[in-house]
Symmetry: C2
Subunit: 262 residues, 2 copies
């Protein structure tokens, strides 16, 4: 089974994209709602949670892992690959490759928005620089976007104002490509596009990791990823989370409560 974890329900945008790109594959999802959000916490704490979440997914039959949380991928993916011997995908690698491909053909100016943990880790500029040192990368942390999305404030005036505030420095830098470096942000895409500029290409990390996973599964037919029903676990259950899950999938999602770690 394909294990996916996130700090909450935002990573369900990844699970939804995997359903679209790899139809029929069985997923097991874990959303750490009891400790959400990760993006304002320290790297040490996020790494401990990532380790516990992977242990949980392994215990429930996962044979490959997708880290569907940019904050966790930013500070924990490399450690987790050293610690666990199974394929670990994350949202950052494929997103970086796609952004480089698009921006190299235009002006080479990439903007990245994400949580504080993701932007402070500088993982995007570092990985983009490893592929093409000519590109310029401008990041901006957007800590209020996750709470706004989780409240369902997807088209309120305050959300549009806050988005304009967060996007302004990137617009001033005339980026040609914008990375949505948090799995909550695709839900704001229709507000982001007009505010960053309609010619700016938006790269959605949820879609990129699903595309890469499809390629991997095609290249590795020996992978015994069971087909069948998907399962969704959360470490806490709240009505707001159930509503966000329904909004992402466009259908009700049955969430089961279980703990990972303490």
């Amino acid at each position: 089974m394909i294990g996916i974890f996130d700090s909450g329900v935002g990573g369900m945008t990844v699970a939804h994209a995997v359903e679209q790109f790899c139809p029929g594959r069985a997923l097991i999802y874990f959303g750490d709602l009891a400790r959400t959000p990760y993006g304002s916490k320290s790297p040490a704490v996020i790494r401990r949670y990532a380790r516990q979440n992977i242990d949980f997914l392994l215990a429930h039959g996962a044979r490959m892992i997708i880290i569907a949380c940019n904050s966790a991928a930013s500070v924990a993916a490399e450690d987790m690959r050293r610690e666990f011997s199974l394929p670990i995908f994350d949202v950052i690698g494929p997103t970086v490759r796609r952004a480089v491909e698009i921006s190299s053909a235009v002006s080479g100016r990439i903007g990245v928005i994400g949580t504080r943990a993701t932007i402070n880790s500088a993982v995007y500029p570092r990985k983009i620089g490893q592929i093409n040192q000519e590109l310029r990368v401008y990041g901006n942390e957007c800590p209020l976007l996750v709470p706004l999305v989780e409240e369902g404030w997807l088209n309120r005036r305050e959300t549009r104002m806050i988005l304009r505030y967060y996007l302004r420095p990137l617009k001033m830098r005339q980026v040609d490509t914008l990375v949505l470096g948090c799995t909550h942000y695709p839900l704001l895409r229709d507000l982001i596009q007009p505010r960053i500029g309609k010619r700016v290409r938006i790269v959605d990390s949820s879609i990129e990791v699903a595309r890469e996973l499809r390629q991997y599964l095609n290249d590795h037919p020996e992978c015994d990823t069971t087909t069948g029903g998907s399962k969704f676990y959360v470490s806490d259950m709240t009505p707001a989370a159930a509503a966000t899950a329904r909004r992402i999938f466009g259908r009700p999602i049955e969430l089961q409560v279980q703990q990972a770690g303490g």
Copy 2:
């Protein structure tokens, strides 16, 4: 020692008030930054965290406890008093008594703002009704205020708009008294007063619990609350938390990182 816990650093408004009202008493503070915020989590999860936090404070020498988090007080205070045999104060009781005293002398219409957990628990209307059934209580959940305060957005236009949106239903009800049912909200008091109306009396739960503690200590001179230096523990350390702590106390606060529970 007087043990105080909160989901993060918001409860330091209580610690600061206790310093003012009970000068020289030694405090031990625990802020659960690794799992913050509590206000959007379920009662079951909040109770588990409250239990672990009290165990932590006991192990560090606390002989009485203040639950400085309205969300935890709302859903866990009564269980904790059954489970632990030491004095447990919380922000809600004294705040309720003060609001009833003020409002009974005016029109008897009390507004309460708080997190989702606090408002959904209906603890304020229930406790106010136990004292005076004639009073009317109107609550409104304000889930975005904690992230706004933690970002330090204390005088931005977006914050003022969001406050106006949250306060409007209470203003329409013509409340004469407004309870700040979350320890983060005192930091927004100067924005709240003009938006709810300058004649509305604001009750700050941080101050009320400190006042009640002073009374208790005067009435119980046998209480061996050590005098001396206070200690501040957090389960995670972030620059934003350190900045909020400094803003609350008006001086730098030394935070030590330790875990409570898993």
